[in-house]
Symmetry: D5
Subunit: 93 residues, 10 copies
């Protein structure tokens, strides 16, 4: 079941660089583990912003919330989730 997710990251510019690097490193590992598991099939950087559009493929709403609230950068993010359905024009639908 697919969900469209917009993530907007707001890190304070004066954050301790070591803390920042640590969080960003853990975020990347967490993200790639979910890609390998097929849960996070798409992630794109929005040009000019510290933000991304992503698509998640999960079994339930609860699974999606567990994944998103576990993001290392979650406390610094504004997240908007939109449920997706098959589009009638989609050749793969």
């Amino acid at each position: 079941m697919l969900f469209h997710v917009h993530m907007d990251v707001n890190l304070p510019p004066d954050l301790d660089p070591a803390q920042r690097d640590d969080m960003v490193t853990r975020e990347k590992a967490y993200c790639q583990e979910l890609q390998r598991a097929g849960k996070w099939p798409h992630i794109w950087r929005i040009v000019g912003e510290y933000a991304n559009y992503s698509v998640f493929d999960v079994d339930t709403n609860d699974e999606l919330h567990q994944i998103l609230s576990g993001l290392p950068l979650f406390p610094y993010m504004d997240i908007t989730v939109t449920p997706l359905a098959v589009h009638p024009s989609d050749l793969r639908g």
Copy 2:
């Protein structure tokens, strides 16, 4: 080069049904032709809305505008285009 596109369709409820069916049929054919050409790799229906999130893969901004302004439903749509870049966490990046 990828672009995220939000399309929101506003057809007047009292539109002539034949005109409506004709436009929707042509829209579907136009969309599927672009999918086959690899220009429109993703289209998802937004649950509960006559709207979609799409991803386009084009060579230039001008090509994208030509495609979007050629949509049979273009006069009835609100369209928002967001350029996408490779995300540093994307395994396929």
Copy 3:
């Protein structure tokens, strides 16, 4: 799987009364059939508005879109869907 849905109805004041009554009657029957089926467990009127907050219980996003786009008043509605998860403080969670 639960979803929070906000439905805002915009019927033109000069709509033919017979057409209006017919749509509202079919909307009510459609809604109550889904309540009986356990798919639409909650519907509340928003005070002072021709609008409602509802909760749906469905198996998939596609099922929810099929239900919502089948509403007799769908062409006159603005709908916003929010996926819900179990709250950690919910005694029934």
Copy 4:
């Protein structure tokens, strides 16, 4: 008398963890006591956000304000209250 309430929690990421845990623990106890008393019949987590949609069942507006302003996390919340009425299509109405 039912009210729909949207609560959006904004805890500063650098809040002292002990203070945070204490507040969250007290919030949960407060919430569950009101659930047991039948005052807070529904609470759902909004997927991807530190926020919830709730339904309260109270006798008066004053009682509702007393409950909400007494939330341990109240100083960190944006709260929006919407009064609800019986929907004419509600089978239980």
Copy 5:
């Protein structure tokens, strides 16, 4: 129990003048009857707008919705309802 209500009236400029006069006359009578009954204690015109701020004093949310949805101009209004509580600084509280 008090509620703050904002009513914004949008009559189409080309509405038939007789129909308009009839609705406005019925609106005034309806409003004054509720004032006499103590249900609509305050109504103020917003300067420069065809809109008002009102305060209603009702027993339940359902009673308020019945009153507001019965307004002759209801199909032409945008209405926003805000529940009010006693303010701790109010000398009459």
Copy 6:
């Protein structure tokens, strides 16, 4: 001459409690003095928010600004002022 005023208070959660209590106490005294003088005939708490709707009765715009900018909590408030006129349906108009 009547004015509708919306006051939204934003006190930082980590404000010194003594400073906070002092300001709130002075705010209450200031407010009640103006009620007694007939300048501030109505104040209502907005349910679920640290905010109020008020009505002021003053002779001039300048008098109203003097009153509002003198509020002890003024530096922490977002204030919106709307001038009111007699409504043609008001029985007391």
Copy 7:
């Protein structure tokens, strides 16, 4: 007593030209009569819009509403009124 007023005019493009000319002519006469009376000391066109910023000098809120609601173009306008006070830096204050 001064008020800042923003007027935004929305005439339908297919309005009958004679009706349009008549309204605009009456609007101009009405406006200039109020300028001569000292009630409407300033009116400026907003560049690129069918809109203006104005300043009114009236004795009461009721007088201002009477003036604004009497504008020949009132049914086609969105109007926003902001009360003004003397600025402490104003040399003429």
Copy 8:
């Protein structure tokens, strides 16, 4: 003196095609005449929208308003004007 202008065109989909073509043809001629005169140095299509970003080079605000309000499509446009100054980093500044 430079101004940034955003023009958003809203032509009704059911406009008479001959009237539409006539207006668009006159709009193009009007635009190109101003380009040749050096008054309208830049015009770009916004991808996916019937809208443009433009830059105008005029002597006064009044000249700019005269140009914009003379656009054949002016009655169907939403226009936003932003005055521009030389940027301190501009090599040509």
Copy 9:
């Protein structure tokens, strides 16, 4: 050439009082010097807000930016500039 300017001042409530007084004093002197020079013909306080509406009379956009960016309170302000033209109904136009 006239410009309408909205200035909204956001001073942190815990700003050092001496620094605040110094800035406000310099702001007043700067403002009055420009009034005497005929560059800042109007300034009005917005009732209930630490904000003003002003009208500037300058020769160029660059002159206006130089004036506004030189305001002692500039780093604490949100400023919106709107170019003005002569209104066709203005008796002084």
Copy 10:
């Protein structure tokens, strides 16, 4: 390929002046280097704001994101990117 970019800079007023000067100096050098390379053909100051409208000429979305995210002031900016196409009325199109 052209892109319209809006950059809004939010430097905290209490930023260390040396750090501020250093960043602004590096920003200017970075900007002028890109102007010389033909990548940043236009930059205009928005009058009254610490903001600019710019036009970039790049080969790909990824190149644009690399440029923008490398701005020395990037952590303090809100950036909005809009892809541009040739306008059919553009004489140079």
